[in-house]
């Protein structure tokens, strides 16, 4: 690696970390979370970057090299279908197989009475979460894994072997990707590790959203105990993937905690207590969390404001970013706030005007990271993302 490239990397890392500590760097860092956009830009189909993870990694590196971005994710088309196919996951729809070639991969919500976890299985889950996942959940969500007590099959055995090897290979590639981003373009790999809220795990992968909504009324205590049972495991997983240098944050991807999926009172009762404890524990160990507030989260700001200062980077999607800044800008770095529909349907001048306003209001004293509101898929226009980048460099120098 050239000395100049390493200097660029160190400069960008310092810029990114300084902003995340809610301080004022030399300029506003740019950290766009680009997913299927990378395929469009690099000339691949969405099927190609979803199924061939090497093309996904290459596309992410091409974007990092061509745009003046400080930090990117190694691969935001994260759900590599090579692995989901190896395991035979039923809840995952793959572009080019189940979906058109240029449609993003989808998670399938289970139908009524078809949830991967039955309504009467809370006690089994609570008693032994990992055992439940292996013995009950995995055989249901996998087309190949045999149920416990049933004869094993060749496909069952191959599912574990291929799934395990594929996961090892895939995660190893993220380390290689971080090194290549650093050496080829001086770009920082922006995240390390993963966190989900206990309630989201119940909604996304176990009971389904509709099933969990019924449970909140029919068996609320079980829902709360299940969240508590999941909590130490989710903390453990987050810590096991966290940046040992404690520079970049753990990614927290939230789905069902916002309006209109949960009312504020449901959020306070079911969603927040266990998630709050995990974030506090991570921060006590020196790890920040990228609080990816996808959707409208402003009605929950009063609870989020209870978190320790600097413990999160608050990413704004559909909430009013100026209200977020007034409410929690003193405590946390803020990122995002450039609407995806503007990036898809607006003009470069409109994008630049929006970025200027956000930088002047939210980023005035530092503690702001430029990004779109939500992860960018195939509808983001190249010229608009370039305008977002250029505007940040034009208006974002301190």
């Amino acid at each position: 690696m050239s000395t100049a490239m390493e200097q660029r990397y160190q400069q960008r890392l310092a810029r990114y970390v300084t902003a995340m500590r809610n301080e004022k760097p030399d300029m506003v860092p740019i950290r766009p979370l680009v997913a299927e956009f990378t395929a469009c830009y690099a000339g691949y189909t969405i099927q190609e970057v979803t199924q061939d993870c090497q093309k996904a990694f290459a596309a992410a590196r091409k974007c990092a090299a061509d745009f003046d971005w400080d930090a990117v994710a190694g691969n935001m088309v994260y759900g590599w279908s090579g692995l989901t196919q190896a395991i035979g996951l039923r809840y995952y729809a793959t572009p080019g197989i189940d979906l058109p070639v240029n449609t993003s991969f989808q998670y399938l919500e289970p139908g009524d009475d078809e949830a991967w976890m039955r309504a009467d299985e809370y006690d089994l889950l609570i008693e032994d979460v990992t055992g439940y996942l292996f013995n009950v959940w995995l055989p249901r969500v996998s087309a190949d894994v045999s149920p416990t007590g049933q004869p094993s099959t060749f496909r069952n055995n191959m599912s574990f072997l291929k799934g395990g090897m594929a996961m090892l290979d895939y995660f190893h590639n993220f380390g290689r990707q971080a090194a290549l981003l650093r050496s080829e373009s001086g770009t920082v790999s922006c995240l390390s590790g993963i966190l989900k809220a206990p309630f989201d795990i119940l909604a996304d992968k176990l009971r389904g959203y509709k099933g969990l909504c019924m449970d909140m009324f029919r068996q609320p205590d079980k829902v709360l105990k299940a969240c508590e049972a999941l909590m130490p495991h989710l903390l453990h997983v987050a810590l096991s993937g966290a940046d040992p240098d404690k520079n970049v944050p753990i990614g927290l991807w939230m789905h069902r905690g916002c309006i209109p999926f949960l009312s504020p009172s449901q959020f306070e009762k079911f969603y927040w207590p266990t998630l709050k404890q995990i974030i506090e524990e991570l921060w006590a160990r020196g790890h920040q969390t990228l609080f990816y507030a996808e959707g409208e989260w402003n009605p929950n700001l009063k609870w989020i404001a209870e978190l320790p200062e600097l413990s999160i980077i608050y990413h704004v999607d559909r909430g009013d970013i100026f209200e977020v800044h007034r409410a929690v800008g003193e405590k946390f770095c803020i990122s995002g706030g450039v609407p995806n529909d503007l990036l898809a349907f607006g003009t470069p001048d409109e994008v630049k005007a929006c970025c200027k306003k956000v930088i002047e209001c939210v980023g005035r004293e530092g503690g702001y990271i430029m990004d779109a509101s939500a992860i960018m898929q195939d509808d983001t226009k190249v010229e608009n993302l370039r305008a977002m980048t250029d505007a940040t460099r034009e208006y974002g120098v301190y």
Binding site: G79, D128, T130, G131, Y132, G163, M167, H233, L234, H236
Partner: protein, 56 residues
């Protein structure tokens, strides 16, 4: 008692050392080494199921 009630699996474990240890009548050498390596590799199994749940 079914399998769910027989074992408690703390975070990071699938088959705990306490569950595995009785399968060795005798350990001639360094038991702590055997324990550490068992737990390190066991944690990979834990990573597998939890990453399937969270990431895929």
């Amino acid at each position: 008692m079914n399998e769910h009630t027989q074992t408690k699996r703390p975070p990071g474990t699938c088959v705990t050392w306490e569950e595995k240890r009785p399968e060795f009548p005798k350990i001639e050498g360094d038991e702590q080494l055997v324990k550490r390596v068992w737990e390190d590799v066991d944690a990979l199994g834990y990573t597998y199921i939890w990453q399937v749940l969270l990431s895929f």
